[in-house]
């Protein structure tokens, strides 16, 4: 539990060179001290993590658990480091597509629906729906990782595999378009007919497609768009 709680601080000492490695050692420290009370051995094990570590902060507990298991079993440094390097990349890829594309967007759709019942239900939906999943993974992940050791990633891959994520993404996309157009028609029904929604929605989706072609321009497009809207509003 102490390791799980410390994992909330994993990125506190993030730097360009070592990334999360100092934070990772800090999080594992209570468990490592228990496993290796001998000072010299502890020092040696800590140095296994002297490499740039960077993974998804919500899934790092699973990695921490499996690494602790490998260290407790006395696996070689080569094997541990090689597992660490492979697993952190896989977890980063899984975490980004799952939490960013599926969970965040589906929570937002649920919020838009529940906002019809007032601000408090909407607020609670976002807080509960988004946070329950990652908090559960953060606190349970360390125990799952420790139980399964180096087999954790393949077990996790069965749970959050790319096929399931793709299916969820498709369903979320359809639900997103549905909810957004329903809300839009509900808000705009006073001055727009229902069939105006099609060209407007098509315009938005076309804009989405164009923006997606070159993501690096967003840093400029976003403030420029907002300033353009502001200036237009002032001038009109």
């Amino acid at each position: 539990m102490k390791v799980s709680a410390r994992l909330m601080l994993i990125q506190s000492a993030w730097t360009m060179t070592s990334m999360q490695s100092e934070g990772f050692v800090y999080c594992l420290l209570p468990a490592l001290k228990k496993l290796f009370p001998e000072h010299a051995r502890l020092k040696r094990v800590i140095n296994h993590f002297h490499l740039p570590i960077n993974t998804h902060p919500f899934l790092v507990s699973i990695l921490a658990g499996s690494i602790l298991k490998m260290e407790a079993e006395g696996q070689s440094q080569r094997l541990t480091v090689s597992y660490l390097r492979t697993a952190m990349t896989a977890l980063a890829a899984l975490g980004d597509s799952y939490f960013h594309a599926v969970l965040a967007f589906s929570s937002m759709i649920a919020v838009l629906v529940t906002l019809a019942f007032g601000p408090l239900p909407g607020l609670l939906t976002l807080l509960v729906m988004f946070n329950t999943v990652h908090l559960l993974i953060r606190f349970a992940g360390i125990f799952i990782g420790f139980k399964k050791g180096d087999a954790t990633i393949s077990a996790l891959g069965q749970w959050i595999d790319s096929g399931k994520t793709r299916l969820l993404r498709t369903l979320t996309g359809i639900a997103g378009g549905f909810v957004i157009s329903m809300i839009f028609s509900w808000i705009a029904e006073d001055f727009l007919s229902l069939y105006w929604i099609v060209p407007i929605a098509f315009g938005i989706i076309l804009l989405a497609f164009v923006l997606n072609l070159k993501r690096s321009v967003w840093g400029y497009v976003l403030p420029a768009f907002l300033l353009l809207v502001l200036i237009s509003e002032v001038l009109i």
Binding site: L9, I10, Q11, S12, A13, T15, M16, T17, E22, Y26, L29, L32, H39, K43, H50, P57, F58, A101, F105, M108, P119, L123, L127, N131, L135, R169, T170, T172, G173, I174, G176, G177, F178, V179, I180, S181, M182, S185, I187, F191, L194, Y195, I197, V198, A201, F202, I204, I205, A208, F209, V210, N212, R215, W218, G219, L226, V229, E233, V234, I236
Partner: protein, 230 residues
């Protein structure tokens, strides 16, 4: 003067505490723009402005998680509406002052994110030149000290960022109220719709490459079909 100092203190402490999550965890989790703005709006009786700012920032942040510190942008926007309501200025969704608050908060987020990156780079260089904690003979305590030091430093820096952010946002809101005449009500409605819709476009664009907008379009078609039948 006393009231201004109290506001300053509250913004410093609240902003520093809220920003710590993103700073220590690396991703916004509990502290999301919609949660912050809506909660602030509901607390001060500005639900509509809080909801509009929250939804706009949340959608934009989901589409573009890099290049901007969205938590700081949300703190600045939420702090901005709260401070302005203390001085009896009430904001409406899509009004020029509200759009100015939104623009200023996003610019604050982008500016401080750039500064954070630069500071991180210089910290990496200085830590490489300094004492190597990996070679230390202590039993891991040096890592604990490093994390604690960074949390305290992060807390202070986040507090300063929040005060500056809220200050800039309030200034932008006040300037807009002073300079621009109130917009035509229909223009305000259109602006109130256009910005969240742009957020939708940005979010859809980022989510899963080229197919996600297509799925969304299917959803729109289904909704229009149902609407037509009704």
């Amino acid at each position: 003067m006393g009231q201004a100092l109290i506001i300053l203190g509250v913004v410093f402490v609240a902003g520093a505490v809220l920003l710590l999550e993103r700073r220590c965890l690396g991703k916004p989790a509990v502290v999301q723009p919609l949660v912050l703005c809506l909660l602030t709006g509901a607390t001060i009786g500005e639900v509509e402005a809080g909801l509009w700012l929250g939804i706009s920032l949340q959608l934009l942040s989901m589409g573009q998680s890099h290049y901007c510190n969205w938590v700081l942008a949300a703190i600045s926007a939420a702090g901005g509406i709260a401070v302005m309501s203390v001085y009896d200025i009430h904001l409406a969704p899509g009004a020029t002052a509200t759009v100015a608050v939104l623009c200023a908060s996003i610019l604050v987020g982008i500016g401080f994110d750039l500064l954070d990156r630069k500071m991180n780079l210089s910290r990496s260089v200085s830590e490489q030149k300094g004492v190597d904690i990996w070679k230390s003979e202590q039993g891991g305590e040096e890592f604990t000290a490093l994390i604690h030091r960074n949390i305290v430093r992060g807390f202070l820096f986040a507090g300063i960022q929040s005060v500056l952010g809220v200050g800039l946002v309030v200034t932008a809101g006040y300037l807009m109220l002073g300079v621009a005449a109130p917009a035509h009500p229909e223009v305000t409605i259109i602006v109130a719709l256009v910005i969240p819709l742009f957020g939708v476009a940005v979010t859809l664009g980022s989510l899963s490459g080229r197919l996600f907008p297509l799925y969304a379009l299917i959803g729109v078609a289904v909704s229009v079909g149902i609407g037509g039948m009704i």
